[in-house]
């Protein structure tokens, strides 16, 4: 059988067949840089339709007049950002990149992580996005190009490279928290910790917020799960029926706190609660909460 050399992306990507019949796709780092650059700009200029729809729905259900006004302003702000290709928020975030690298993909053309960082560098410079990263957490000198990105990599079956970019603002990130609960604390303990954390955060993370929760795993796994939870389409439910129910109950309770849009009072404190779970140690019940402001930004591309 004749194997065909398939060129995609202007000939930069190619499929070749390795011994044993597995097709290996080759992706050049320049394609990765270009994709990341575009996503940095698009994520910051164009608020996702899921968030926009959620604003509109919340506008209908909000009982506070001030709350309604704020939701209206946020809708208008997103429209201006899209029209003018201006960042919806001046905090254009830490560039958090989730990579799902197919095990049948070969990267060529240089260092994979540097290719991502170069995309961030170009995107934040050419897009007039704010450079919010310091190189050393204590010396605090700005790197001037918003690098380094925070990159999480998973190896998955197949020959696709999926890149998800989620720019994360500092205000909501600062209100995130993690706690190692006791198994005896159970679901009630988990719920209390989450609702209390949202109450403590109050107006600071720019409500209406999206609440990402990670339950289970180890200390760092729970934190990562809580961030992954924020990548879901707004309001998309957990695939586990009991967790989907927990998400609903949490959303209801959080929206009873009265914090409301911008913390000025109202029923729309959170737009969604997303919970991700993982197996846990017999001794542990880790719970991590990663809050996102209403600028719940994420873009993805499959190469």
């Amino acid at each position: 059988m004749v194997r065909i050399l398939l060129f995609i992306f202007w000939g930069i990507n190619s499929n070749i067949t390795a011994k044993g019949g597995t097709t290996i796709k080759t992706i050049n780092t320049s394609v990765i840089t270009e994709a990341v650059k575009k996503m940095c700009m698009e994520a910051n200029f164009n608020l996702g339709s899921d968030v926009m729809e959620s604003f509109k729905k919340s506008y209908e259900s909000e009982v506070s007049i001030t709350g309604k006004e704020i939701l209206q302003i946020l809708i208008k702000n997103a429209e201006i950002a899209r029209e003018e290709q201006a960042p919806m928020c001046q905090d254009t975030g830490f560039a958090v990149v989730f990579v799902e690298l197919g095990q049948d993909v070969r990267i060529e053309g240089g260092d994979f992580y540097e290719a991502i960082n170069e995309g961030v560098r170009q995107g934040y410079t050419e897009g007039y996005l704010r450079k919010s990263i310091v190189s050393h957490p204590l010396e605090r000198k700005n790197t001037g190009d918003n690098t380094p990105a925070v990159i999480h990599t998973k190896i998955v079956p197949g020959d696709n490279l999926r890149l998800i970019l989620a720019p994360k603002g500092g205000g909501s990130e600062n209100m995130s928290t993690i706690k190692m609960l006791k198994p005896a604390d159970g679901v009630e303990g988990v719920k209390k910790f989450i609702v209390d954390s949202v109450k403590i955060a109050g107006p600071n993370p720019c409500p209406p917020i999206v609440v990402g929760v990670g339950i289970g795993g180890t200390y760092e796994k729970a934190a990562l799960l809580s961030k992954e939870a924020l990548l879901r389409e707004l309001g998309e439910k957990s695939k586990y029926p009991d967790i989907a129910k927990l998400e609903e109950e949490l959303l209801e309770e959080i929206n009873k706190t009265g914090i409301g849009p911008q913390g000025l009072g109202g029923k729309t404190t959170a737009l969604a609660v997303h919970v991700e779970i993982y197996g846990a140690h017999i001794a542990s019940l880790p719970v991590a909460i990663n809050l996102n402001c209403h600028a719940a930004r994420h873009k993805e591309v499959v190469l």
Binding site: V63, S64, T66, I70, I73, L74, K76, N77, I80, A81, E84, A86, P87, M88, C89, Q90, D91, T92, Y128, L129, R130, K131, S132, R140, N142, G144, G170, G171, N174, G202, P203, N204, P205, C206, K256, T257, G258, I259, G260, Q262, G263, L264, G265, G266, K267, C293, H294, A295
Partner: protein
């Protein structure tokens, strides 16, 4: 709700009349400053040195704008979370600062300083940065250009919308909002 128009510099009389929940349209000059600039300002105060601007009667806006596109006055320009400036704010109010603009709760020390020195704390809408930028008519860096977005800018604003969150008599709009809208 009626909106109150104020032009900076502000006086004691102007801020003493303000009450939580009132919507205010600010006009005139605002100075920007966030974490790094505040640290430098307070270091200067401790050393008894002159500040890059006289805080008396002035308003500080807690913001680090995104860069201006060519032909634009400024990039997106919404408030940052204020509590990070709490360790520095009382010293600036003591020097006559009349207001700060940000988002989120203030510490008991700041709320006390507002009463003591007759100052207020305003909130702007966090994340409405592209819209807020429209009320900024000019911008120039007056200190610490090495800080990039964190440099101190002098902004000239027209009808810049804010709401009074903490007033000179100890009121707190965030507390009130929760009291009204929380459900059992």
């Amino acid at each position: 709700m009626t909106q109150i128009r104020l032009t900076t510099p502000l006086t004691d009389e102007m801020v003493e009349k303000l009450r939580i929940g009132q919507q205010v349209l600010l006009n005139g000059i605002l100075y920007t400053g966030r974490d790094a600039a505040h640290k430098r300002l307070v270091d200067l105060i401790k050393q008894g040195k002159e500040l890059p601007f006289d805080p008396k009667g002035q308003v500080i806006y807690y913001v680090g704008p995104s860069p201006a596109r060519p032909g634009k006055v400024i990039g997106s320009c919404g408030p940052t979370t204020s509590y990070r400036m709490d360790p520095y704010a009382p010293e600036l109010y003591a020097l006559g600062l009349k207001a700060s603009i940000g988002k989120g709760k203030r510490s008991p020390e700041v709320i006390k300083a507002l009463k003591q020195y007759k100052g207020v704390y305003f909130a702007a809408i966090g994340g409405a940065a592209a819209l807020i930028a429209k009320s900024i008519k000019s911008a120039k860096v007056i200190a610490y250009p090495d800080l990039g977005a964190e440099a101190i800018h002098e902004l000239v604003v027209e009808n810049f919308p804010v709401v009074v969150v903490n007033d000179t008599i100890g009121g707190d709009l965030y507390e009130e909002g929760i009291k009204i809208y929380s459900a059992k």
